[in-house]
């Protein structure tokens, strides 16, 4: 049950088409004043329109698991990042920095992603605000 990192990164590309396809304004769903960091295990990738999403199971100190849905950043940023070598699998550890949904749901707009400790994606300030 492994996903190539290329595929995972491409999922992120697809996850970022909100700004590309203008499906919705970032600021209509996410709060630029609510930065957040989550850490957990990659549990699902949805390969669908209008956005692809990846999901991370986050375990709290009591052992309870909360699943966060993560939407990526702008495609122009990702195109500059390029695709990196390596592999990821469901269950691998992710640290995701981004902005939380305004409605308090467990959704976030991902701006920086570490996969097994390695920085694989970072969107600079000014893109897709």
């Amino acid at each position: 049950m492994r996903l190539s990192l290329a595929f995972f990164t491409l999922c992120l590309v697809l996850a970022t088409v909100d700004s590309a396809l203008a499906h919705h304004s970032f600021a209509a769903e996410f709060d630029g004043n609510k930065p957040i960091r989550i850490q957990g295990a990659l549990s699902k990738v949805e390969w669908t329109n209008p956005h692809s999403w990846f999901y991370v199971d986050v375990k709290d100190e009591a052992g309870n698991i909360t699943t966060w849905g993560c939407e990526g950043a702008s495609p122009s940023v990702l195109s500059r990042q390029g695709f990196q070598k390596g592999e990821a699998k469901l269950g691998d550890k992710l640290v995701v920095d981004g902005y939380a949904a305004k409605d308090g749901s467990h959704l976030m707009n991902a701006r920086r992603i570490y996969l097994n400790g390695k920085l694989i994606f970072e969107q600079t300030q000014g893109e897709g605000q």
């Binding site: 049950m1 492994r2 996903l3 190539s4 290329a6 595929f7 491409l10 590309v13 697809l14 088409v17 909100d18 590309a20 396809l21 203008a22 499906h23 919705h24 304004s25 970032f26 600021a27 209509a28 769903e29 630029g32 004043n33 930065p35 957040i36 960091r37 850490q39 990738v45 949805e46 669908t48 329109n49 209008p50 956005h51 999403w53 849905g69 702008s74 495609p75 122009s76 990702l78 469901l90 550890k93 640290v95 920095d97 981004g98 902005y99 949904a101 305004k102 409605d103 749901s105 959704l107 701006r111 920086r112 570490y114 097994n116 400790g117 390695k118 920085l119 300030q125 897709g128 605000q129």
Partner: protein, 296 residues
């Protein structure tokens, strides 16, 4: 769970590698197509030089057919007030109330997979494709929306057209200009642009499309709506021709619209420059130190 079943719903072990390669190729193609779709382009319209004249049809009219892409000099994109001093729309009191309603009580219809209609699509960042025939012209949009316009100078508007997002559209040639005259618009679940500005069912849009050379397409749009705007105003814009390999692709907006239940009313903050978004994002958590990363 096998990788193939996770990604593609298949379980044919003998086909696994081939499926994976094919799927990755398809994914890459689709992703890059979407990246191209979203690109406003690094050039302004004047910076794109054309060495060829506008093509013409057998009937002698300019052929507007092509895949047309926005340029970075269209600022602010998605804002129908782009050409007005101070980005100030001439709203009537009813228009002001409608804007307030859109900002505080409606989710962007396009994010709910409802067609943006006209003139919103003309202000969009997204490319579009024109296919022109002798009697009809089709405008094809991302989201798999289209409008099909008859070209017939003798045709008149209906007395009571059924309201629609694109309106009742009639095309005719005025010299080398394709004129599209539209009435009969819906007045609910519509934003006239991405900034949630309103229009009513009294909207009347006159688009004047020209192709001044091979690589440019231009529209001047007259927008009249006496219910919501005190006077008519214009929205003008130029697109550049995409590469021969560029075209629209399927985009099933409602397949898995996770966002629809989480979007807030209105487009969010609007910056002084007329674009949507936060002026400054709060800083993200500090990057992980190298030693911390190694322990993850």
């Amino acid at each position: 769970m096998k990788r193939t079943s996770l990604l593609f719903g298949g379980s044919c072990l003998g086909c696994k590698c081939r499926l994976r390669v094919q799927a990755l190729a398809a994914v890459l193609f689709f992703a890059l197509a979407l990246q191209r779709a979203g690109a406003q382009g690094g050039l302004t319209a004047p910076e794109v030089k054309s060495t060829k004249p506008s093509p013409r049809t057998a009937g002698g009219h300019p052929d507007l057919s092509g895949y047309w892409k926005g340029t970075r000099d269209t600022k602010p994109v998605g804002n129908i007030a782009k050409d007005l001093p101070g980005l100030k729309l001439p709203l009537t009191p009813a228009g002001e109330a409608a804007l307030k309603h859109n900002l505080t009580a409606t989710v962007d219809p396009e994010s709910l997979c409802i067609p943006g209609g006209i003139p919103r699509h003309n202000a969009s960042a997204l490319p579009f494709e024109v296919l022109q025939g002798s009697k009809k012209v089709a405008f094809l949009y991302w989201y798999t929306y289209f409008r099909l316009i008859p070209i017939d100078a003798a045709r008149k508007h209906s007395d009571d057209p059924d309201p629609s997002f694109f309106g009742e559209e009639l095309g005719r040639w005025d010299g080398d200009t394709l004129v599209i005259d539209s009435i009969g618009f819906k007045d609910t679940q519509v934003w006239i642009d991405e900034n949630a500005n309103p229009h009513s069912d009294a909207l009347h849009v006159v688009e004047r499309w020209t192709r001044p050379d091979y690589d440019h397409l231009h529209v001047d749009t007259l927008i009249e709506d006496p219910k919501f705007y005190t006077k008519p105003f214009h929205y003008s814009r130029t697109w550049v021709l995409g590469k021969a390999v560029e075209e629209l692709h399927e985009y099933a907006c409602s397949e898995n619209n996770v966002d629809r239940d989480h979007l807030q009313f209105g487009p969010g903050p609007i910056r002084p420059d007329g674009t949507r978004g936060f002026e400054q994002l709060a800083p993200l958590p500090p990057p992980l130190p190298e030693e911390k990363r190694e322990k993850q």
